[in-house]
Amino acid sequence: MTQATPAPRRKADRDEVFVEFTKSICPLCKTPVDAQVNIRADKVYLPKRCREHGEFEALVYGDAAEYLSSARFNKPGTIPLSFQTEVKDGCPLDCGLCPEHKQHACLGIIEVNTGCNLDCPICFADSGHQSDGYSITHEQCERMLDAFVASEGEAEVVMFSGGEPTIHKHILDFIDLAQARPIKNVNLNTNGIRLATDKAFVAKLGKRNQVPGRSVNVYLQFDGFDERTHLEIRGRDLRTFKQRALDNCAEAGLTVTLVAAVERGLNEHELGAITEYGIDHPAVRSVAFQPVTHSGRHVEFDPLQRLTNPDVIRLISAQRPGWFQKGDFLPVPCCFPTCRSITYLLVDGEPGNRTVVPIPRLLNVEDYLDYVTNRVMPDAGIREALEKLWSASAFIGTETTEEKLRATAEALDCTDSCGIDLPEAVKQLNDKAFMIIVQDFQDPYTLNVKQLMKCCVEEITPDGRLIPFCAYNSVGYREQVRAQMSGVPVAPVAPNALPLASRLTTTPYGSRTTLTGSEELRP
């Protein structure tokens, strides 16, 4: 009997392209770990492995070609005037800002409290009706503002957040403290309940929006129109509150950004409607879409099916195809370009019959924001205007943004020849400009130190540090600050991810933490 010849062993190709080696953290113990960035089936994934807790993988960008081509929008960072910490253990353990950080703070966030008049099923801050949280004092607020000014010199925007900042009894004083400093704009991040029910309070905000050289803008949580959306994301049907809050803001002359937390399977079908509603409401000048940050409290999710910026942009375009097409949104150069994409629209006509002109269709914005290949552009003024608009500090309603929108439109001038005085004409454009922001904040699953090191949105802590927002929510800084401020121990938060379900338990605030009983729960 003859022996069959064994089939020759064949080498197989990998099903993915390895594009980067980086660092992340273990989503369970938050220990820094090596990570890779791989492209598979036109999408970008971040796999990593913790020696103790095993392997994890998350989808980080839904369009591989755009992920790679966005590298050219990476603007050289600006060095802040001061750093608050030293380099000791390496990123992301030295926040912040440490001297290794690549960018100054375009936006500073002050969380004034942990308490809230809602208990949303989705809340990265793990806030709610809790008796063991904290509220900051006048002195703490001043120290936080001073730390921001020391780092920035003249700061563009500070955002008051929480918890729910409008229920802090000194919130108006805090706005005054900010306006007394070289901080041009204040943003108030709110669920809108107080704005809907306390017109006197809204009027006081409106008055502060009239201070010369200063503005107050409202950043209003606004996730959609379906009752289910409200119940699943906020735990309560707030539709009439939102409407009343917006009408009160319009009456008080306040500019509003609608901010939608977008979760797969919950409200991803409402993005076009939110945009159109915003365009139609007189108080609203911008919409921000944020895929839910899977940090703090949130519904169970699949890290491989989460929403990323390109997914959100595709949904917006698919839901309003007459208004948007591919290429209308562009990455923001000040932070890492894959973190945030923006477009500006010029809007005309009546509700239901709108002319919508995305600014990137008027001129080749991507040529001006290309910092790697186009170092010289014939008109430096246009680049300067566009980079102020494509920035994390750009909020419609601020003087800087209005001025740069004007400068951009003026760049299209042809006064001498065709007899149309465009600059004069665009002076009336201000209330026709509308901004859409898509921002994917990082969480313990998606954190990439490469992006984190250039983050330009910072949480200002009561002890005067500036901690990158995504480090604050992912690495454990939020829990540390809350424990220090409240004197109550806070469990390290773990993402409520499907693959981790058997290893998690619920914290007193509703978020998840790693099961005790093993040595997994380390300080």
Binding site: Q325, G327, T355, T373, R375, A380, C414, I420, L429
Partner: protein, 273 residues
């Protein structure tokens, strides 16, 4: 209209008219990404002397001088553009490497064989005597020097009536040729075509841009726009026809490179033989 009048009209249109406003002086389909692709195809190297024909506000010449470190000469028919481009070169600190002159593409004010490369973006389609212009490109190129062109392509016989009926503003585009005809024109001037690529998506982008700019004018200055002779109601149909023409392959945008044959004498061996 004489050729001189047409050239002057086109240069005028591109420097002052509403077309400049709608298309943008420094704009051509494909933007700087396509310019870089063209430069890469030409294998530009530091120190080379490069001519940009119809240089507009200097975007292409400045990019080449900066990113490819060549010595760039720009020539444009409109004095206003020359001044703007020169100013931009100074502002960018590139005045020693980028020089701009006013002149005629069909009578280039340069000696024979002085350039290592010649580029011409979105302009050959506007030149009334394309053979004459191509002959001039060949004349100023050194033997073995390369020409790079990006331009509107049009199969004029198949253009829909909406596009043929456009007034003098876009008559420039109506004189565009199929890509193969550009190649023949170059070949007739002794320029052997090396690459011919289609970039029709860039044309769609330009049409979108014209539409967006018309909408902007409609928002900001409808009365003045009508005074300037723009028929706003007709515009969408024309732009839709243009998009359809691109889809049908009648209208498009192409990138061509060609090489000037080394000085040929009977009996010369091809290089490398």
């Amino acid at each position: 209209m004489t050729h001189e009048e047409i050239k002057s009209c086109c240069a005028d249109a591109y420097s002052r008219d509403i077309v400049a406003m709608l298309l943008g002086d420094s704009y051509h389909p494909g933007g700087t990404a396509l310019t870089r692709r063209l430069a890469d195809r030409l294998a530009l190297a530091p120190g080379m002397r490069v001519l940009d024909v119809a240089s507009g506000r200097g975007t292409t010449a400045l990019l080449l001088a900066d990113a490819y470190r060549v010595r760039a000469d720009g020539i444009d028919y409109a004095p206003a553009n020359t001044a703007l481009a020169q100013g931009a070169a100074q502002a960018a600190g590139l005045a020693d490497r980028a020089v701009f002159t006013t002149g005629d593409a069909e009578h280039l004010p340069y000696e024979n064989a002085v350039f290592n490369a010649v580029v011409c973006e979105c302009a050959l389609c506007t030149f009334p005597d394309k053979h004459q212009a191509a002959g001039e490109f060949a004349r100023v190129l050194e033997p073995g020097g390369r020409l790079g062109i990006t331009d509107v392509t049009a199969d004029t016989d198949r253009l829909p009536p909406e596009l043929r009926g456009l007034s003098a503003r876009t008559a420039c585009i109506a004189d565009a040729r199929p890509a193969e005809e550009y190649a023949e024109i170059l070949a007739a001037a002794g320029l052997r075509v090396l690459t011919l690529e289609r970039h029709d998506q860039a044309m769609i982008r330009m049409i979108d841009q014209i539409q967006a700019r018309l909408s902007l004018l409609r928002i900001t200055a409808p009365a003045r726009l009508a005074e300037a002779g723009m028929d706003l109601d007709a515009a969408p149909a024309v732009l839709d026809a243009a998009r359809a023409a691109v889809t049908d392959g009648v209208l498009g945008y192409a990138l061509l490179t060609a090489v000037k044959s080394p000085a040929e004498r009977p009996g010369d061996l091809p290089p490398g033989a």
